[in-house]
Symmetry: C2
Subunit: 445 residues, 2 copies
């Protein structure tokens, strides 16, 4: 008999009154599903290298072309095409680290990217926002703050992102435009994610789209390592397909699922952490939004994803950040995190005596084995309603999306900002004030 | 380089105009996810055997007690408790076949249960039915027929089931009440599925609930093999948990997911095909209905399920058969079936030349590589809407449930019954007429 390590926060003797939140550090226990053989992975990899050697990739920024030329790439300034010998690319994937930490403002928020670790990021940068109260509208700073607060509230979200574009803030002040070169030079994390829609800007076959994705990712990774060998970089994948009747992008499709599994294999083949996403193509927070999201999510997780971007709030192909969808996605992420917890098998958990003491046809509600554990035995949902039809009807027949609307309002109304050292806060405020007075960042820098 | 077998129906040269339906025979290519070590599986198995030896199980039917006594079990007639020595149980699991066929009326509908095969069955036996037009109501014969026709229409459903109780038909005529003994004696399939809700009629721990499930399943399996060694029997699992505040059953929970994975290990441990389900606890066809269904479905499929019951139409904890949910579930099953198709990697699929011929910033819509494949490259959804927000709004902002309503109406309006030999049809009609005249089956036989 092998006894697994007991659940964190659940000592054998003193049992807690409430199930504690423990979603800050997730390790995926499931072995990745690998649809491709080792030979097939190598075949895609070599095809991508051949693509970079023979056809190259167009690099728009002169500084980047210069860095790559210095590193050994062949540059045609007239066409802006950069061609890579395989050795240059392989040197880059060899110096890029396979695992590293993203340092949090609070030490307990630091997350590891790589190995079995899974870190999540909410939806990033849709131009619009929506909720049941106001419908779809252009994103503004108040919505942006709401989404950052929701991200801060839920421990199952690990890294914050630009949840929605605050379009009431002028562009020069909205963000500091920084490229791969600056991030790599500063030793900061880059995520290189080609957007390869099979049938549109990538071949109609998954094998072709994955080859193009791999080539583009390798080119970006080579750039980061040419700037600073060892700079942390994540292999990003966003291969999906389009509706061949209309050209519209689709997400959470069977093709997306298979590409997410295969992309994990490609990322591991070059020894880098793997970034994926949990998108959907629905225009409403409905059944489609959730079944497509679940397909994407399981594709990512079973593919061995380390960094899950657009993990909460993505709607309408990424054009809208939905607050209700945000809450529903958090529910799903929490459920997923719970499946990562080990299923403990030992005599105490099996409780053979407890079973023997319960007569046939009896129930276990009042038994000692139950009373010791019932408070923390099961996941308590955020939105799911398990009442019977009569109770549910009496309570107003509210569907999950309507209940999610109540959840985000309650979270925001009770929100307390995390503690921040006064001196640090003052410094940040001074920085923002100074940069604003200086006119912000030029949009094209 | 290894080249996988080409897709069925997609020969290398003559490409079909339309993507053909090919969901009649599904083989799950994904290796099962196994949360338990081999030692832990054996520990649960031995605990269940000990439970059957020490405490036994209550068997209500005198005929069954007599069969088990003859087979070697110890029977206490006063308490109706039957105790099993482990050898008796192990002899039964040894004679039960690990794989067998369910013969279809048409030969192409025959399905294999066991190995990597996956067969699906729609929701079975809810007392109520619902759709957007009529809301929730008591099931009737017209609804029953609608659901059977929907089952017949979609190839991704393999075995029909009693989709809803037709309560306008008197009980004696509704069904022939047959037990495990009759099925086993006739060499017909039995599925032994204990309903073990952790915290209610089973221990609050998953390890305890799985032990009880395993013990009850083994007792039923032993009965079938005592009647007729070699009779086909499926190991059924339906372990979930309750809401510990209200006692209400929950489905598609993280606990359900883990139990579904572990149950597959237990079924394989005793060498039997594994039956699971795709239920949810929602009262509406909404986001919750789908994310819970997806959790159940992935738990079943990643657990190595061979027979998936309640695969389409289950709502409200199984108390209602929903026609819209039926269609949404078919969409999800078809998507799942598509993920089972191999991801073909060869030079023709990669299309390096096609990539090279497409200039940076160009698209692949008109290329020869695309034109050869675009008609059949991707799954075409049944309900999913991939139009943009403007088009979707102009078309009436219909959510996925409303679109599913149109789908089942269209399928029923166009339904043509499958061909049936006139002589067979006449024989069936004669049988029903005769049994009806005789007064039907007594409810308590």
């Amino acid at each position: 008999m092998r006894t697994r390590e007991r659940r964190r926060g659940r000592p054998a003797v003193a049992r807690p009154e409430r199930r504690s939140l423990r979603y800050r550090s997730l390790a995926n226990p499931f072995a990745p599903i690998e649809p491709l053989s080792a030979d097939e992975v190598e075949h895609l990899h070599l095809s991508a290298l051949e693509l970079l050697r023979r056809h190259g990739i167009r690099v728009l920024l002169p500084e980047a072309r210069e860095i790559l030329r210095t590193a050994g790439a062949s540059v045609d300034e007239a066409t802006e095409l950069v061609r890579f010998e395989p050795e240059l690319v392989l040197r880059a994937t060899a110096t890029a680290p396979s695992s590293f930490e993203l340092i949090g403002r609070s030490p307990e928020r630091t997350v590891t990217l790589g190995g079995r670790h899974l870190a999540t990021v909410p939806v990033s940068s849709p131009p619009a926002v929506s909720d049941l109260d106001g419908g779809k509208r252009v994103g503004n700073l108040a919505d942006f703050r709401d989404l950052v607060r929701l991200t801060q509230h839920f421990d199952v979200l690990h890294v914050t992102g630009p949840c929605v574009e605050p379009q009431d803030v002028d562009l020069p002040f909205r963000h500091l435009c920084m490229g791969l070169i600056d991030f790599a030079a500063a030793g900061q994390l880059s995520v290189v994610t080609p957007f390869t829609l099979a049938g549109a800007m990538a071949p109609v076959t998954l094998a072709g789209a994955l080859t193009l994705q791999h080539a583009e990712a390798l080119a970006g990774i080579t750039l980061t390592q040419s700037v600073r060998p060892g700079a942390p970089v994540v292999y990003g994948a966003f291969t999906s397909n389009v509706d061949m009747k209309s050209g519209a992008p689709a997400f959470g499709t069977p093709e997306y699922f298979k590409a997410a599994l295969a992309s994990g294999q490609l990322a591991r083949h070059v020894g880098l952490p793997y970034r994926s996403s949990a998108p959907n193509a629905s225009n409403a927070v409905d059944s489609q939004a959730m079944y497509e999201t679940m397909m994407s999510l399981f594709g990512a997780v079973l593919g061995g994803c380390n960094l899950l971007i657009h993990a909460a709030g993505w709607l309408e192909g990424g054009l809208t950040a939905s607050k209700e969808k945000f809450v529903l996605d958090v529910e799903v992420l929490q459920m997923l995190a719970e499946t990562f917890e080990p299923l403990v098998v030992d005599d105490e958990e099996i409780g053979l005596d407890a079973i023997g003491e319960t007569p046939p046809g009896g129930h276990f509600f009042g038994g000692e084995h139950t009373l010791q554990r019932y408070r923390t035995a099961f996941y308590e949902p955020l939105v799911s309603d398990w009442s019977n039809f009569g109770q549910w009807t009496e309570a107003g027949s509210r569907d999950a999306t309507q209940r999610a609307n109540e959840v985000w309002k309650r979270v925001l109304s009770e929100f307390e900002p995390p503690p921040l050292d006064d001196a640090v806060a003052a410094e940040l405020q001074e920085f923002v004030a100074r940069r604003t007075a200086e006119g912000g960042a030029p949009p094209e820098s």
